[in-house]
Symmetry: C2
Subunit: 400 residues, 2 copies
Amino acid sequence: MKSINIILSSIIITSACAAFAQENIRPGVAPIVSPQLDENGAVTFRLFAPNAKSVQLEGNILSGQKMVTEKGDTIPVSSIEMVPDNGVWSVTLQNLPADLYSYNFNVDGVKVIDPVNVHTERDVMNVSNVVLVPGEASEDYAIRAVPHGTVSQAWYHSSFKDSDRRLTIYTPAGYEAGTKRYPVLYLLHGMGGDETAWPTLGRATQILDNMIAAGTVEPMIVVMPNGNIDRDAAPGQSPLGFEVPEFYLPHTMDGSFEKHFPEIIEYIDSNYRTINDKDSRAIAGLSMGGFHSLNTAAAYPDKFSYLGLFSSAINPREFTTELPEIYANRDQKIRDLNSRGLKKFWIGIGVDDFLYGLNKDFRADLDADGIPYIYYESDGGHEWKNWRKYLHQFLPLLFK
Amino acid sequence: MKSINIILSSIIITSACAAFAQENIRPGVAPIVSPQLDENGAVTFRLFAPNAKSVQLEGNILSGQKMVTEKGDTIPVSSIEMVPDNGVWSVTLQNLPADLYSYNFNVDGVKVIDPVNVHTERDVMNVSNVVLVPGEASEDYAIRAVPHGTVSQAWYHSSFKDSDRRLTIYTPAGYEAGTKRYPVLYLLHGMGGDETAWPTLGRATQILDNMIAAGTVEPMIVVMPNGNIDRDAAPGQSPLGFEVPEFYLPHTMDGSFEKHFPEIIEYIDSNYRTINDKDSRAIAGLSMGGFHSLNTAAAYPDKFSYLGLFSSAINPREFTTELPEIYANRDQKIRDLNSRGLKKFWIGIGVDDFLYGLNKDFRADLDADGIPYIYYESDGGHEWKNWRKYLHQFLPLLFK
């Protein structure tokens, strides 16, 4: 057998040229950098598009930007014109608050993902680029050099359609090597979301890693199921294949998910080292997931001692038939839930949320019934920016 | 407390309009469908771009397409012109063989992800859409209604840079509920890849689910580490944040990964129900990962009874210093590995692979030394299409 020759393997040259093409498409010119993060929250976006007539920046990166109309009204900005220079279009946003943002470009009417930023996330039917503006408010959204939990995608059997259904499970750092048992938070997504929403857009696993490492949050197992019971898993992850995501799915708010929720608890308590009791179990969710959380806790009052509603839907979707049994007499069920010992009942919503009024009415009802809760009111509306913040507020209250 | 009113929650209306905007941007006109899969492997791609001057289809979806030049040479096609009709550009490819493909559009020189296909995958520095053309050859790449294994992203501690490093772990269906111990395959990616490559582009977890369910593959644990030992995790998953992926990373082929490989085995055998012996341990990889597999098996001849080289690199990258100790005397190490009992030594490569010649020389050396191996030669070159096929060939040979 020949001895090994030390050579520059041709694989490197071949593949690297293809790979770098995205970054440096004009020989002899510096590669495009986008996004470029500078100090004090200045972020510059660039796109090489020499033939474009107009290029705009879009996405929730603009959520804090306002403009004044001819009539003198201040209104939100939904897109910003980018300016060309030698074929490179750019725009700089100043003083962006620390947070996770999404963005994309629009080139002559076509939505375009930034070709030099490989970091994308899907929010229901939209794929966008992501950028994390660093700072104190976002430091727990970043992946830091702390012990990391394990994130698993597992499948439990549901009697609904007799199918296997996918969920995301976070087990805290040290779980595999230890023998300790842990409390469990069930963390639910909103309409159009799925079991991938909290671990991506919600930065839930980063928030957990960082807060557990800091000692402000108890080590816990966090279970993120798929609340669309008509689907086995997120789009692209079920036997439906690379399906087009649907916003309106059957059975999302008709009681089917809540009715079958005990199957999830049973799967988790049977297969993970949980503390299988009420005081070590929490449920929380955003929007439709808040609605699911409220009704699940109310339907099984011996199961949960912690309940969190983040920008929560309060009422189900319309029905042609009557209200499902599991949603009936909810007032009484909530009083019963409270009387059996609800250690923390947490409600958070933004002042601009379209569900603000319904939540206000709901809180008035709780007040009238003498049911205690913690209320957190934020700026903004129905958006991930708030749900990450609410999770960050809610987690330190659990299991103490 | 008020009784629940059955209403159409405004959340649905608000969010749905935003979500559907991608699909139906021209009121009163049918939504864009892309890709559209018809019978016999016909796939139509469409993009609404009324202001574009030219739109092309690109990606490995074209890998089988050829054109004849003016000189009469038949050459591969790297892009195909799409044709406009009322602002909708389209092209149909006929008779595509069943497989997983990637594609993107190019609009007036700008790379564009299909805005109505949310299914994307990153291959090193390129994000593309994916489409699965169904058929016998790709049926094990699809998610089918069979029992599914759990896919976890976990972190082990490495003494290299004293860091926690991420890996993907597949445990077969039934693992959580059972007490059985399983054999382990270590499955390694190529240069520029990471611990997310085999589970996404490689369809490894689907192939495992389907072949285990069919009884053709033994239930096994499959560990997919990150072979870039200078990085803790894939781009976007490490403390480096949303970094720009780099193709040339330090320490990828200098022996560091192989030297620290026992730390991975130790982590897996300590934390998972493995059968901790040589005959229940396999290692295989593609390209750089084949090189890593070969050298790891050779360096630890009591650890592995199965070795798979998929389009494998044979030689390390160039060094300014001398050959690392772990790569020295490899001929002798391979003879030693063989003499201790290598149950299966599998080599696969495509006839168009730029590493074909080096693999041929390597096989000649094995032949000269009387070392048996199984050789599989395919069409095509250095591409995922082949690596999925090789995994599909290799898995049934293990642990029997």
